[in-house]
């Protein structure tokens, strides 16, 4: 009896400690992350950087001041082009993907974007595909697909038949140059963590590449038993969304990428 009592007490004490720890952690994190922003997938049209939110619609980029985060106030609007689809942020630069090209902006000290370059994917800005983008300081990774879907505003019958991953050298942000093109099924969302690239290739599933050599990227792993739409890499944990599932993968060990969990259709 005594031993049961003491073990119960031990468990109680442990629980109390854990609860206290949990609460203190929560307090710390809420303090540290007050006003912080989260992480978006590559199809995002809303991106928050410091006290500003950048929103792309079909043709323009709008800047909202979030000094009072409860009341976004528009402070700027610039025409970008047609069929704008997504916006991505890296290190003070905004990468706007459209059906026709890639637009790179620098965020100025006043929070407003200034265009550094406009790179058309095809001979002109008059032909279209669909393309989210991910980037780091040296390269931009663009997926182009022609699978017309209404949830992709760039879609339509004018689409040029292109399904590929493109890698641009952006070491000169004012003059991106095309380095390589890789054939895909119908690539959509794209995510980057260091030199590991995650590509959602629609019904071909999730593809994970080593992109250390942009001219010769290496497929590390492919999961082809589901349809992948977009990804968020979170430092070892990968969120993947398909039309009917949310998957999570552990990629801390790239030679042993594991499915962690999934939430499926109807659940």
């Amino acid at each position: 009896m005594k031993s049961i009592y003491s073990s119960t007490r031990l468990i109680f004490t442990l629980c109390t400690l854990i609860t206290l720890l949990a609460f203190s952690c929560q307090d710390d994190s809420s303090l540290a992350e007050a006003g912080e922003t989260g992480v978006a997938g590559s199809y995002a049209r809303f991106i928050i950087v410091n006290n500003f939110m950048y929103i792309v619609d079909a043709s323009s980029i709008k800047t909202f001041d979030l000094v009072d985060e409860t009341k976004p106030a528009q402070v700027d609007e610039q025409i970008v082009g047609e069929r704008i689809e997504s916006i991505f942020h890296f290190d003070g630069r905004l990468f706007v993907g459209s059906g026709a090209g890639l637009f790179i902006y620098q965020i100025e000290a006043n929070g407003l974007p200034t265009q550094l370059s406009a790179t058309n994917y095809f001979e002109s800005f008059e032909t279209f595909s669909c393309d989210p983008v991910a980037a780091d300081s040296t390269h931009a990774y663009v997926t182009l697909n022609t699978l017309a879907r209404i949830d992709q505003p760039c879609g339509g019958i004018d689409n040029i038949q292109t399904n590929e991953l493109r890698i641009y050298d952006i070491s000169d942000l004012t003059n991106p140059s095309l380095l390589a093109q890789y054939q895909m099924e119908a690539p959509k969302g794209v995510g980057l963590d260091g030199k590991t690239l995650f590509v959602c290739d629609d019904a071909a599933g999730l593809k994970i590449y080593d992109v250390n050599d942009p001219l010769n990227i290496q497929l590390i792993k492919q999961f082809d038993n589901f349809t992948a739409f977009d990804v968020i890499p979170l430092d070892g944990l990968l969120l993947v969304v398909g039309p009917e599932n949310v998957f999570q993968f552990d990629y801390t060990d790239l030679s042993n990428i594991q499915l962690v969990s999934q939430i499926a259709y109807g659940i």
């Binding site: 992350e33 912080e36 809303f46 209404i150 505003p153 398909g242 949310v246 939430i263």
Partner: protein, 180 residues
């Protein structure tokens, strides 16, 4: 007899009315073609946003992550809020109903989402009792309401009498009258 004389005028008036919504008049019937059909909300309260019990996943769109919580869009309907403190066991905790929504971003305790053509800021510090703190009208142009933006092809003409257009879906159309 007197009434009959008004018939052509009546027909003309009818035609004017029905032709008003036609974006592109097809002189020849095109038969059954692939195209887009508007999704209407007959709900006049499309701008009411509420935190509800979790609901099943049907057709997911964009995804967002912050502080161990996954936010994933149920296309045109709202946001699944999923507690991911343990990635091995993600737990749906709420569904924020936002009609005509696609995009999500969060700063601090404020979630930003599109609601048909508006931008809405929502205080989510208490996910059970959320509060809309601001609404920017017409973030997106009127275009979303009357034709599928950025799309080229056939579509069913919008009849605003059916309600506000919250999205478009691919379908087979029988002799559609609208095209872009």
């Amino acid at each position: 007899m007197k009434n009959l004389r008004l018939l052509p005028l009546l027909l003309f008036a009818l035609c004017i009315n029905s032709c008003e919504v036609i974006d592109f008049d097809n002189p020849e019937p095109v038969g059954t073609v692939e195209g887009l059909r508007p999704i209407y909300t007959s709900n006049e309260n499309w701008d009411i946003i509420s935190s509800q019990e979790p609901r099943p996943i049907e057709n997911l769109g964009k995804i967002y992550y912050k502080d161990n919580v996954i936010y994933v869009n149920e296309r045109n309907k709202g946001i699944h809020v999923i507690d991911n403190s343990n990635p091995e066991n993600p737990v749906p905790i709420r569904f924020i109903e936002v009609i005509g929504s696609e995009d999500i971003a969060i700063k601090g305790n404020t979630l930003y989402v599109d609601n048909v053509t508006d931008l809405v800021a929502i205080d989510i510090s208490n996910i059970l009792e959320i509060e809309v703190t601001s609404r920017v009208k017409d973030l997106y142009s009127e275009a979303k309401k009357t034709f599928p933006e950025g799309y080229s092809g056939f579509f069913e003409c919008v009849d605003l009498a059916n309600g506000v257009v919250i999205g478009w879906e691919e379908t087979l159309l029988d002799n559609p009258n609208c095209q872009r």
